[in-house]
């Protein structure tokens, strides 16, 4: 029954092609820990993390892991190719700009992409003239869009809207977010966003309004067009109202974006680690070989000492291992959680805990048998006492793992996670697998000849 479940889950994981995701230290890549240089409100911090996430997506990393841990952001990019570019991009401060809209394009339409490309390159296409498909080279979307590191305030850029359905070609920025004093979403018959600017900003904003009267100006945060309102006045005196068919969430989001521009979250790089692929592989290989050799030694020792019961211990380890593999693969696949070096060492360490559960039980059985009890009833009867010991001891490990997971970050946290997981597996395997198998062995295979379990009985003792 238990074998069935474990076997099924392992088969499921294997057939789905899930394999554990390896951390930076085990396959090479980049790991960056960032912390805001100054104190920032929580929602802005979250927003900044969101921006980092967008940038990482733009780089195209297979299994990025970006987590907030207290007031730090831990970014792991295993296997990333261009490491320096990744490090630079991640740490860059996000900027809010106001850019007049030159033209729109549909990112899915090749014709419009080609037209937009020409606009960006400065060669104007006369209005209404169709682009000849045969002579034009196909412009792919990624070629067209401005890469983050070229997204300068002074450049003409091609960017997407926040939903990704609309493309914009935008003129150089006329205003940056620093001039914003306050932005808030309010409800006045409909949801609107009030924007107030400082003196310098009021002047620049009016200049922009004059130049772009009755045209659209895009509000761009870190390469994403968040909104593109039409200017319908020329004199704002530092107070602007952005209206549209916003719902509450949209209006609040826009206000947050504008406030973010006013006080961009600047990050300090607390810890930057780049690991070459060869070094990562070396560590991984060393860890795997060491783990296997360790397992083999433990297996041999258990066989030598406990005979048949040693075999049960080896089977328990195998079942735990299969379960663990499934869980790690599942975590990697669904949560993007990578197996780190600390986690891997935690697992090697947990071999000891798993084996100990077996030993506690076997020693109890041995003791009962020495007291003169039959092997099969000893196997049945000792489990309660042994399992209670296992539970109490494992509970202490779980408390430790929980505290460490909650209160620490980085390496230690990864270790705590795997310590917790393996401890739970230990409990489950002890109860659902080890006991039935030991009882089975005691009933069927021992035939009341305890020597097979590495035991001597009371009667044999007399002859010693």
């Amino acid at each position: 029954m238990v074998l069935l479940i474990v076997g099924a889950s392992l088969a499921g994981v294997l057939s789905a092609g899930w394999t554990p995701v390896l951390g930076v230290q085990l396959q090479g890549g980049v790991e960056v820990v960032l912390r805001p240089a100054n104190e920032v409100p929580d929602e802005q911090f979250e927003r900044a993390i969101e921006i980092i996430r967008n940038r990482v997506d733009a780089i195209g990393v297979a299994e990025p892991d970006i987590t907030r841990q207290g007031d730090q952001v831990v970014i792991q990019l295993p296997g990333v190719k261009d490491k320096q570019r990744a490090v630079d991009l991640i740490g860059k401060t996000a900027e809010l700009t106001f850019r007049p809209v030159i033209t729109f394009f549909d990112p899915l339409d090749p014709n419009q992409r080609a037209a937009a490309q020409q606009v960006v390159e400065g060669s104007q296409v006369a209005e209404g003239e169709n682009v000849d498909e045969d002579t034009e080279q196909m412009v792919s979307l990624s070629d067209l869009l401005t890469p983050p590191e070229e997204d300068e305030a002074t450049a003409t850029v091609a960017l997407l809207g926040s939903a990704g359905q609309m493309g914009f070609v935008l003129a150089p920025a006329e205003l940056t977010g620093e001039v914003i004093e306050e932005a808030a979403a309010t409800f006045q018959g409909q949801w609107i966003v009030n924007l107030s600017l400082n003196d310098e900003g009021a002047l620049l904003f009016d200049q922009m309004a004059v130049a772009n009267y009755e045209r659209q100006v895009a509000i761009v945060l870190d390469g994403v067009v968040e909104s593109a309102p039409t200017i319908n006045a020329v004199e704002f005196n530092g107070q602007a109202v952005i209206s549209g068919s916003f719902d509450e969430a949209e209006a609040k989001n826009l206000a947050l974006v504008l406030r973010f521009g006013a006080l961009p979250v600047e990050f300090e790089r607390d810890d930057v680690r780049t690991v070459s692929a060869t070094l990562g592989e070396g560590t991984l290989r060393a860890g795997v070989i060491a783990g296997l050799v360790g397992l083999m030694l433990v297996g041999l020792y258990m066989l030598f000492y406990y005979r048949l019961l040693g075999l049960v211990a080896i089977c328990s380890l195998a079942v735990s291992g299969a379960t663990l593999w499934s869980i790690i693969a599942w975590l990697g696949e669904s949560k993007g959680l990578a197996l780190t070096l600390a986690g891997a060492t935690g697992i090697i360490v947990s071999i000891g805990v798993q084996v100990d559960s077996n030993i506690v039980y076997y020693e109890r059985i041995k003791e009962e048998v020495r007291r003169g009890r039959a092997v099969r009833s000893a196997a049945d009867g000792s489990f309660r006492a042994a399992f209670s010991t296992i539970v109490w001891a494992d509970l202490a490990s779980l408390i430790g793992a929980g505290v460490l997971y909650q209160l620490t970050s980085g390496t230690v946290r990864g270790f705590a996670l795997y310590l917790g997981i393996t401890t739970l597996i230990d409990l489950a395997v002890s109860f659902f697998f080890m006991r039935p198998l030991v009882v089975f062995v005691a009933r069927r295979l021992v035939n009341e000849r305890p020597r097979r379990l590495g035991l001597t009985t009371v009667t044999e003792e007399a002859s010693v």
């Binding site: 090479g28 820990v33 730090q72 300090e268 790089r269 607390d270 810890d271 930057v272 680690r273 780049t274 070459s276 060869t278 070396g282 060393a286 070989i289 060491a290 783990g291 050799v293 360790g294 397992l295 030694l297 433990v298 935690g346 360490v349 000891g352 805990v353 084996v355 100990d356 030993i359 020693e363 041995k366 003791e367 020495r370 003169g372 009890r373 009833s377 009867g381 006492a385 010991t389 109490w392 001891a393 494992d394 509970l395 202490a396 490990s397 408390i399 430790g400 505290v403 460490l404 909650q406 209160l407 620490t408 390496t411 230690v412 270790f415 310590l419 590495g454 001597t456 003792e461 010693v464």
Partner: protein, 351 residues
Amino acid sequence: MSFSIRRLYRGDTSWDFLGVSRRVLTGSIVAVLICVAALFIQGLNLGIEFEGGGVWEAPASEDVTTDAIQKTASNIGMADARVQRITGGEEIFRIRGELPAGETAESIGSALAETAQVDSESVSARTVSPSFGDEVAGKARRALVVFFILIALYLTLRFEWKMALGALVAVAHDIALTVGIYAIFQFEISPATVVAFLTIMGYSLYDTIVVFDRVKDNERSLSLKTRMTYSDLANVSLNQVIMRSVNTTITSVLPVVSLLVVGSLIMGASSLQEFAIALLIGLVVGSYSSIFVAMPLVSSLKGREPHWAEQERNAELLSESNSIENAATALAADRYDRSAPPRPRKKGRKR
């Protein structure tokens, strides 16, 4: 000798652990004092995660010398950089120093790669800001305090406060010894080492709980019937769990030894090495302390309780025979007594 090993194998020993522990404890105290002294005099060799700075690792080849790398490092403004050639497995250069102003980890990495005659992609680098280390250390300290409080509560609820105290003293002893050895030999402390220290704490507690669990069990089942003193009870319990402790320690140490030998000596992965050393020391010390530190402390605390103090006086009056022998016979008598009809015995334990 062979006789006693056979007895050990059968789990049929009657050693006077507490008696031995009095002598061993003196050694423990001295060792802890030395370690604490070393900690204060020499301090710890903290890794860059705690001190800030940068570390670069580049593959080493025969025709590049450490001096050449050192020279390159000086030229780019890292005169006080430490350059090591790490052998065993794949050879690498390890360069540690402060990141000079105006340089990036990458620019230094490529300069080093050029000198080492390797591709700059094969250089691993790590830079850490100094404030980060403070934070890591601070978090670890806070987690540790919370952990100690929770464990103390847990053990008090599960057993009693005297046992909680015994267990925590044993853990403190283990950590003191392990950290002390790091101070004496100036091994580098990294987050991996901290993880190892935490594991040691876990193991030590786990071990101690197994011992205490047995003592509690025996306290319920044996003490009312017999004239055992608490130290007899402790001795009997220790004799019962000694094989478990020995076996568990062996099976826990085997993977760690293989991590140390295979992982670092043969294949040269230094990040595994730091971890394994701490674990190895901690595991051995941890199982030692459960038996020789935690239990004697609890035993002497419990011995002062009125009930046990009286037992003690009675035992002194009846000093005609060795009390351990007594305990063993009492236990043996108890076994046959209880195991004859297996069913009721089980129920009795359930209560």
